[in-house]
Protein backbone atom coordinates (compact mmCIF):
# COMPACT_ATOMS: atom_id res chain seq x y z
CA UNK A 1 0.00 0.00 0.00
CA UNK A 2 2.95 2.33 -0.43
CA UNK A 3 1.47 3.90 -3.48
CA UNK A 4 -1.56 5.21 -1.61
CA UNK A 5 0.58 6.74 1.10
CA UNK A 6 2.32 9.14 -1.18
CA UNK A 7 1.29 12.65 -0.40
CA UNK A 8 1.08 13.69 -4.03
CA UNK A 9 -1.40 10.95 -4.84
CA UNK A 10 -3.64 11.61 -1.86
CA UNK A 11 -3.59 15.35 -2.49
CA UNK A 12 -4.54 14.77 -6.10
CA UNK A 13 -7.56 12.65 -5.12
CA UNK A 14 -8.68 15.12 -2.50
CA UNK A 15 -8.40 18.09 -4.85
CA UNK A 16 -10.31 16.23 -7.53
CA UNK A 17 -13.08 15.22 -5.18
CA UNK A 18 -13.27 18.73 -3.77
CA UNK A 19 -13.63 20.22 -7.25
CA UNK A 20 -16.34 17.74 -8.11
CA UNK A 21 -18.16 18.39 -4.88
CA UNK A 22 -18.02 22.19 -5.26
CA UNK A 23 -19.23 22.00 -8.82
CA UNK A 24 -22.04 19.66 -7.92
CA UNK A 25 -23.14 21.87 -5.04
CA UNK A 26 -22.94 24.97 -7.20
CA UNK A 27 -25.08 23.31 -9.83
CA UNK A 28 -27.64 22.00 -7.39
CA UNK A 29 -27.89 25.32 -5.56
CA UNK A 30 -28.55 27.17 -8.78
CA UNK A 31 -32.08 27.20 -10.04
CA UNK A 32 -32.94 24.06 -11.86
CA UNK A 33 -33.95 24.59 -15.53
CA UNK A 34 -37.03 22.50 -14.74
CA UNK A 35 -38.06 25.20 -12.28
CA UNK A 36 -37.13 28.12 -14.52
CA UNK A 37 -39.20 26.80 -17.39
CA UNK A 38 -42.43 26.54 -15.42
CA UNK A 39 -44.84 29.41 -15.88
CA UNK A 40 -46.81 31.20 -18.60
CA UNK A 41 -44.84 31.97 -21.75
CA UNK A 42 -46.01 34.35 -24.47
CA UNK A 43 -44.73 33.59 -27.94
CA UNK A 44 -43.19 36.82 -29.23
CA UNK A 45 -41.13 35.64 -32.16
CA UNK A 46 -41.27 32.98 -34.80
CA UNK A 47 -38.37 33.32 -37.18
CA UNK A 48 -36.53 31.29 -39.75
CA UNK A 49 -32.79 31.43 -39.95
CA UNK A 50 -30.15 30.38 -42.46
CA UNK A 51 -32.51 29.31 -45.16
CA UNK A 52 -32.59 29.99 -48.88
CA UNK A 53 -36.22 29.21 -49.48
CA UNK A 54 -38.73 29.63 -46.74
CA UNK A 55 -41.15 27.18 -48.27
CA UNK A 56 -38.69 24.33 -48.04
CA UNK A 57 -38.41 24.56 -44.29
CA UNK A 58 -41.99 25.57 -43.75
CA UNK A 59 -43.04 22.42 -45.51
CA UNK A 60 -41.17 20.39 -42.92
CA UNK A 61 -42.65 22.04 -39.90
CA UNK A 62 -46.10 23.26 -40.82
CA UNK A 63 -47.77 20.24 -39.30
CA UNK A 64 -46.42 20.87 -35.80
CA UNK A 65 -48.86 21.83 -33.08
CA UNK A 66 -47.12 25.01 -31.99
CA UNK A 67 -48.88 26.97 -34.71
CA UNK A 68 -52.08 26.52 -32.79
CA UNK A 69 -50.82 28.38 -29.77
CA UNK A 70 -50.11 31.98 -28.81
CA UNK A 71 -48.88 31.15 -25.37
CA UNK A 72 -47.72 28.13 -23.46
CA UNK A 73 -48.36 27.35 -19.82
CA UNK A 74 -45.80 24.96 -18.42
CA UNK A 75 -46.58 23.46 -15.04
CA UNK A 76 -44.31 21.79 -12.53
CA UNK A 77 -46.26 18.53 -12.72
CA UNK A 78 -45.01 18.00 -16.25
CA UNK A 79 -48.06 19.32 -18.11
CA UNK A 80 -47.99 21.80 -20.98
CA UNK A 81 -51.06 23.74 -22.10
CA UNK A 82 -51.17 25.58 -25.43
CA UNK A 83 -53.42 28.63 -25.35
CA UNK A 84 -55.17 30.55 -28.09
CA UNK A 85 -56.39 33.59 -26.22
CA UNK A 86 -58.14 32.20 -23.17
CA UNK A 87 -58.86 28.82 -24.68
CA UNK A 88 -56.69 25.74 -24.35
CA UNK A 89 -55.87 24.63 -27.88
CA UNK A 90 -53.94 21.51 -26.95
CA UNK A 91 -52.34 19.69 -24.06
CA UNK A 92 -49.11 17.76 -23.79
CA UNK A 93 -46.46 16.64 -21.34
CA UNK A 94 -42.91 17.97 -21.24
CA UNK A 95 -39.48 16.75 -20.20
CA UNK A 96 -36.05 18.36 -20.26
CA UNK A 97 -33.27 16.04 -21.34
CA UNK A 98 -29.54 16.00 -22.00
CA UNK A 99 -27.58 18.78 -20.34
CA UNK A 100 -30.83 20.74 -20.12
CA UNK A 101 -30.61 21.49 -23.83
CA UNK A 102 -33.52 19.44 -25.15
CA UNK A 103 -37.23 20.05 -24.53
CA UNK A 104 -39.27 16.99 -25.35
CA UNK A 105 -43.00 17.52 -25.82
CA UNK A 106 -45.32 14.54 -26.04
CA UNK A 107 -48.90 15.07 -27.16
CA UNK A 108 -51.91 13.11 -26.04
CA UNK A 109 -51.89 11.07 -29.25
CA UNK A 110 -48.32 9.95 -28.44
CA UNK A 111 -46.57 12.10 -31.06
CA UNK A 112 -43.40 13.77 -29.90
CA UNK A 113 -41.63 17.03 -30.77
CA UNK A 114 -38.08 17.96 -29.82
CA UNK A 115 -36.87 21.50 -29.30
CA UNK A 116 -33.34 22.64 -28.74
CA UNK A 117 -33.26 25.02 -25.78
CA UNK A 118 -30.95 27.82 -26.92
CA UNK A 119 -31.68 30.23 -24.08
CA UNK A 120 -33.62 29.83 -20.87
CA UNK A 121 -33.75 32.58 -18.32
CA UNK A 122 -36.35 33.80 -15.85
CA UNK A 123 -37.57 36.28 -18.48
CA UNK A 124 -37.25 34.72 -21.86
CA UNK A 125 -36.78 31.45 -23.65
CA UNK A 126 -35.52 30.68 -27.14
CA UNK A 127 -36.28 27.32 -28.69
CA UNK A 128 -35.07 25.91 -31.96
CA UNK A 129 -37.40 23.44 -33.51
CA UNK A 130 -35.58 20.26 -34.45
CA UNK A 131 -36.20 19.78 -38.14
CA UNK A 132 -33.27 17.51 -38.81
CA UNK A 133 -29.64 18.31 -39.34
CA UNK A 134 -29.98 17.88 -43.10
CA UNK A 135 -32.34 20.85 -43.46
CA UNK A 136 -30.67 24.09 -44.31
CA UNK A 137 -32.37 26.20 -41.74
CA UNK A 138 -33.95 26.38 -38.33
CA UNK A 139 -37.20 27.63 -36.95
CA UNK A 140 -36.64 29.77 -33.90
CA UNK A 141 -39.34 30.41 -31.32
CA UNK A 142 -38.90 33.25 -28.86
CA UNK A 143 -40.97 33.43 -25.69
CA UNK A 144 -41.23 35.94 -22.91
CA UNK A 145 -42.46 34.96 -19.50
CA UNK A 146 -45.58 36.69 -18.27
CA UNK A 147 -44.85 38.42 -14.99
CA UNK A 148 -47.83 37.04 -13.13
CA UNK A 149 -47.17 33.45 -14.14
Amino acid sequence: MNWIRTRRYTLFILLGLLCLFLLAVQTVVRLNPEQIITGQWKETGWTYENIDTRNFVYHDIKLTRKHEAESWRITSDGRLYFYNGQDIAAEATWKIKGRAHVLQITYEDGSTELYNIKELTNDYMVLNFDIGIESRGIARLVFHKLKNS
Binding site: W3, G16, Q26, R30, P33, K95, K97, R99, A100
Partner: protein
Protein backbone atom coordinates in the same frame (compact mmCIF):
# COMPACT_ATOMS: atom_id res chain seq x y z
CA UNK B 1 0.20 -20.80 -29.85
CA UNK B 2 3.05 -18.44 -29.00
CA UNK B 3 2.80 -15.89 -26.22
CA UNK B 4 2.66 -13.00 -28.68
CA UNK B 5 -0.11 -14.71 -30.65
CA UNK B 6 -2.04 -15.35 -27.45
CA UNK B 7 -1.57 -11.71 -26.50
CA UNK B 8 -2.79 -10.57 -29.91
CA UNK B 9 -5.83 -12.81 -29.65
CA UNK B 10 -6.60 -11.46 -26.18
CA UNK B 11 -6.31 -7.89 -27.41
CA UNK B 12 -8.63 -8.59 -30.31
CA UNK B 13 -11.19 -10.25 -28.02
CA UNK B 14 -10.93 -7.50 -25.44
CA UNK B 15 -11.10 -4.76 -28.08
CA UNK B 16 -14.05 -6.29 -29.92
CA UNK B 17 -16.21 -7.00 -26.89
CA UNK B 18 -15.56 -3.75 -25.06
CA UNK B 19 -16.03 -1.74 -28.27
CA UNK B 20 -19.43 -3.38 -28.75
CA UNK B 21 -20.30 -2.64 -25.11
CA UNK B 22 -19.19 1.01 -25.44
CA UNK B 23 -21.18 1.48 -28.64
CA UNK B 24 -24.32 0.00 -27.08
CA UNK B 25 -24.02 2.29 -24.07
CA UNK B 26 -23.31 5.32 -26.26
CA UNK B 27 -26.25 4.74 -28.59
CA UNK B 28 -28.64 3.93 -25.75
CA UNK B 29 -27.48 7.08 -23.94
CA UNK B 30 -28.19 9.25 -26.95
CA UNK B 31 -31.58 7.68 -27.49
CA UNK B 32 -32.84 7.97 -23.94
CA UNK B 33 -30.90 10.91 -22.47
CA UNK B 34 -29.95 12.94 -25.57
CA UNK B 35 -26.36 12.88 -24.35
CA UNK B 36 -23.31 11.03 -25.58
CA UNK B 37 -21.61 8.93 -22.96
CA UNK B 38 -18.45 8.00 -24.85
CA UNK B 39 -17.84 11.02 -27.06
CA UNK B 40 -15.56 13.10 -24.90
CA UNK B 41 -14.22 15.23 -27.74
CA UNK B 42 -17.78 16.31 -28.43
CA UNK B 43 -18.29 17.16 -24.76
CA UNK B 44 -15.17 19.34 -24.73
CA UNK B 45 -16.51 21.24 -27.75
CA UNK B 46 -19.86 21.57 -25.99
CA UNK B 47 -18.14 22.78 -22.82
CA UNK B 48 -16.40 25.53 -24.78
CA UNK B 49 -19.63 26.50 -26.54
CA UNK B 50 -21.67 26.67 -23.34
CA UNK B 51 -18.90 28.58 -21.57
CA UNK B 52 -18.68 31.20 -24.33
CA UNK B 53 -22.45 31.63 -24.26
CA UNK B 54 -22.42 32.08 -20.49
CA UNK B 55 -24.62 29.06 -19.84
CA UNK B 56 -23.17 28.25 -16.44
CA UNK B 57 -25.59 25.49 -15.58
CA UNK B 58 -24.82 23.52 -18.74
CA UNK B 59 -21.11 24.30 -18.42
CA UNK B 60 -21.07 22.85 -14.90
CA UNK B 61 -22.91 19.71 -15.96
CA UNK B 62 -20.61 19.07 -18.91
CA UNK B 63 -17.56 19.73 -16.76
CA UNK B 64 -18.74 17.22 -14.17
CA UNK B 65 -19.32 14.67 -16.93
CA UNK B 66 -15.83 15.25 -18.33
CA UNK B 67 -14.33 15.01 -14.89
CA UNK B 68 -16.13 11.73 -14.27
CA UNK B 69 -14.68 10.24 -17.46
CA UNK B 70 -11.28 11.25 -16.14
CA UNK B 71 -12.10 9.76 -12.73
CA UNK B 72 -13.22 6.55 -14.40
CA UNK B 73 -9.88 6.13 -16.10
CA UNK B 74 -8.11 7.19 -12.90
CA UNK B 75 -10.04 4.58 -10.88
CA UNK B 76 -9.29 1.85 -13.42
CA UNK B 77 -5.56 2.52 -13.29
CA UNK B 78 -5.66 2.71 -9.49
CA UNK B 79 -7.45 -0.65 -9.21
CA UNK B 80 -5.03 -2.28 -11.64
CA UNK B 81 -2.06 -0.89 -9.69
CA UNK B 82 -3.57 -1.95 -6.39
CA UNK B 83 -4.04 -5.61 -7.31
CA UNK B 84 -1.52 -6.33 -10.04
CA UNK B 85 1.21 -7.68 -7.79
CA UNK B 86 -0.70 -9.89 -5.40
CA UNK B 87 -3.94 -10.61 -7.25
CA UNK B 88 -3.34 -10.19 -10.97
CA UNK B 89 -6.72 -11.59 -12.01
CA UNK B 90 -8.49 -9.13 -9.74
CA UNK B 91 -6.49 -6.26 -11.24
CA UNK B 92 -8.29 -6.83 -14.54
CA UNK B 93 -11.54 -7.99 -13.05
CA UNK B 94 -12.11 -5.23 -10.50
CA UNK B 95 -12.67 -2.37 -13.01
CA UNK B 96 -14.96 -4.54 -15.14
CA UNK B 97 -16.84 -5.75 -12.07
CA UNK B 98 -17.35 -2.16 -10.97
CA UNK B 99 -18.57 -1.27 -14.46
CA UNK B 100 -20.96 -4.23 -14.49
CA UNK B 101 -22.40 -3.18 -11.13
CA UNK B 102 -22.90 0.44 -12.26
CA UNK B 103 -24.50 -0.67 -15.53
CA UNK B 104 -26.86 -2.96 -13.62
CA UNK B 105 -27.78 -0.10 -11.30
CA UNK B 106 -28.45 2.17 -14.30
CA UNK B 107 -30.48 -0.57 -15.96
CA UNK B 108 -32.55 -1.38 -12.86
CA UNK B 109 -33.13 2.28 -11.98
CA UNK B 110 -34.02 3.19 -15.53
CA UNK B 111 -36.29 0.22 -15.91
CA UNK B 112 -38.17 0.54 -12.63
CA UNK B 113 -37.81 4.04 -11.19
CA UNK B 114 -36.85 6.57 -13.87
CA UNK B 115 -39.31 9.48 -14.12
CA UNK B 116 -37.30 11.32 -16.78
CA UNK B 117 -36.51 14.27 -14.53
CA UNK B 118 -33.48 16.34 -15.44
CA UNK B 119 -31.65 15.43 -12.21
CA UNK B 120 -32.08 11.73 -12.88
CA UNK B 121 -30.97 12.19 -16.48
CA UNK B 122 -27.83 14.05 -15.44
CA UNK B 123 -27.00 11.48 -12.78
CA UNK B 124 -27.53 8.46 -15.01
CA UNK B 125 -25.47 10.04 -17.81
CA UNK B 126 -22.76 10.75 -15.21
CA UNK B 127 -22.77 7.06 -14.18
CA UNK B 128 -22.47 5.92 -17.79
CA UNK B 129 -19.67 8.38 -18.56
CA UNK B 130 -17.80 7.17 -15.47
CA UNK B 131 -18.27 3.60 -16.75
CA UNK B 132 -16.87 4.51 -20.14
CA UNK B 133 -13.85 6.19 -18.55
CA UNK B 134 -13.39 3.13 -16.37
CA UNK B 135 -13.62 0.75 -19.31
CA UNK B 136 -11.37 2.78 -21.58
CA UNK B 137 -8.78 3.21 -18.82
CA UNK B 138 -8.83 -0.48 -17.93
CA UNK B 139 -8.57 -1.66 -21.53
CA UNK B 140 -5.79 0.82 -22.30
CA UNK B 141 -3.87 -0.20 -19.19
CA UNK B 142 -3.99 -3.95 -19.67
CA UNK B 143 -3.26 -3.72 -23.40
CA UNK B 144 -0.33 -1.34 -22.85
CA UNK B 145 -2.18 1.47 -24.66
CA UNK B 146 -2.83 -0.67 -27.73
CA UNK B 147 -6.60 -0.75 -27.31
CA UNK B 148 -9.00 2.11 -26.68
CA UNK B 149 -12.59 1.35 -27.40
CA UNK B 150 -14.89 4.19 -26.51
CA UNK B 151 -14.03 6.57 -29.30
CA UNK B 152 -13.11 6.16 -32.91
CA UNK B 153 -11.30 9.31 -34.03
CA UNK B 154 -7.86 8.01 -33.14
CA UNK B 155 -8.73 4.50 -34.19
CA UNK B 156 -9.89 5.44 -37.70
CA UNK B 157 -6.82 7.68 -38.07
CA UNK B 158 -4.58 4.72 -37.20
CA UNK B 159 -6.56 2.42 -39.45
CA UNK B 160 -6.17 4.80 -42.40
CA UNK B 161 -2.41 4.97 -41.88
CA UNK B 162 -2.13 1.20 -41.48
CA UNK B 163 -4.18 0.39 -44.57
CA UNK B 164 -2.06 2.80 -46.58
CA UNK B 165 1.15 1.23 -45.25
CA UNK B 166 -0.13 -2.26 -45.91
CA UNK B 167 -0.94 -1.37 -49.51
CA UNK B 168 2.28 0.52 -50.24
CA UNK B 169 4.91 -1.52 -48.43
CA UNK B 170 6.37 -4.62 -50.02
CA UNK B 171 6.86 -6.47 -46.77
CA UNK B 172 4.07 -6.13 -44.27
CA UNK B 173 5.45 -6.53 -40.78
CA UNK B 174 3.74 -8.71 -38.20
CA UNK B 175 3.20 -5.69 -36.03
CA UNK B 176 1.47 -3.78 -38.80
CA UNK B 177 -0.76 -6.74 -39.59
CA UNK B 178 -1.54 -7.24 -35.93
CA UNK B 179 -2.51 -3.58 -35.46
CA UNK B 180 -4.57 -3.62 -38.62
CA UNK B 181 -6.52 -6.65 -37.46
CA UNK B 182 -7.02 -5.19 -34.02
CA UNK B 183 -8.25 -1.79 -35.22
CA UNK B 184 -10.48 -3.26 -37.92
CA UNK B 185 -12.02 -5.59 -35.33
CA UNK B 186 -12.69 -2.75 -32.90
CA UNK B 187 -14.28 -0.63 -35.63
CA UNK B 188 -16.41 -3.53 -36.84
CA UNK B 189 -17.68 -4.41 -33.38
CA UNK B 190 -18.28 -0.77 -32.50
CA UNK B 191 -20.54 -0.40 -35.52
CA UNK B 192 -22.29 -3.71 -34.85
CA UNK B 193 -22.63 -2.83 -31.16
CA UNK B 194 -24.11 0.56 -32.03
CA UNK B 195 -26.68 -0.95 -34.36
CA UNK B 196 -27.59 -3.70 -31.90
CA UNK B 197 -27.68 -1.21 -29.02
CA UNK B 198 -30.14 0.99 -30.87
CA UNK B 199 -32.25 -1.95 -31.98
CA UNK B 200 -32.35 -3.58 -28.55
CA UNK B 201 -33.06 -0.25 -26.86
CA UNK B 202 -36.13 0.20 -29.03
CA UNK B 203 -37.21 -3.33 -28.11
CA UNK B 204 -36.23 -3.57 -24.45
CA UNK B 205 -35.73 0.02 -23.29
CA UNK B 206 -33.39 0.25 -20.27
CA UNK B 207 -33.02 -3.50 -20.13
CA UNK B 208 -30.42 -3.13 -22.87
CA UNK B 209 -27.99 -2.27 -20.06
CA UNK B 210 -28.42 -5.79 -18.66
CA UNK B 211 -27.25 -7.04 -22.02
CA UNK B 212 -24.15 -4.84 -21.89
CA UNK B 213 -23.46 -6.01 -18.32
CA UNK B 214 -23.80 -9.63 -19.50
CA UNK B 215 -21.35 -8.99 -22.32
CA UNK B 216 -18.82 -7.60 -19.86
CA UNK B 217 -19.42 -10.53 -17.51
CA UNK B 218 -18.49 -12.75 -20.44
CA UNK B 219 -15.24 -10.76 -20.79
CA UNK B 220 -14.53 -11.53 -17.12
CA UNK B 221 -15.20 -15.21 -17.70
CA UNK B 222 -12.94 -15.28 -20.77
CA UNK B 223 -10.17 -13.49 -18.91
CA UNK B 224 -10.46 -15.92 -16.00
CA UNK B 225 -10.28 -18.97 -18.30
CA UNK B 226 -7.29 -17.68 -20.22
CA UNK B 227 -5.00 -17.20 -17.28
Amino acid sequence: MSISQQKEQNHIFLGGTTAAAAAMVNVAGVMVFFAYTANITGHVATLAEELVKGHWYQTSIVFIWLFLFFMGSFTAQSLVSLFEENKPYLSHAAPILLEVVILLIVGIYGHLFYHESLRETELLVACLIFCMGLQNGMVATISANKVKTTHLTGLITDLGREVSSALLKKNISDELMSNLKLHATILFFYVIGGILGGYFFLMFDFQVFYLVASLLAFVLYYDFNNR
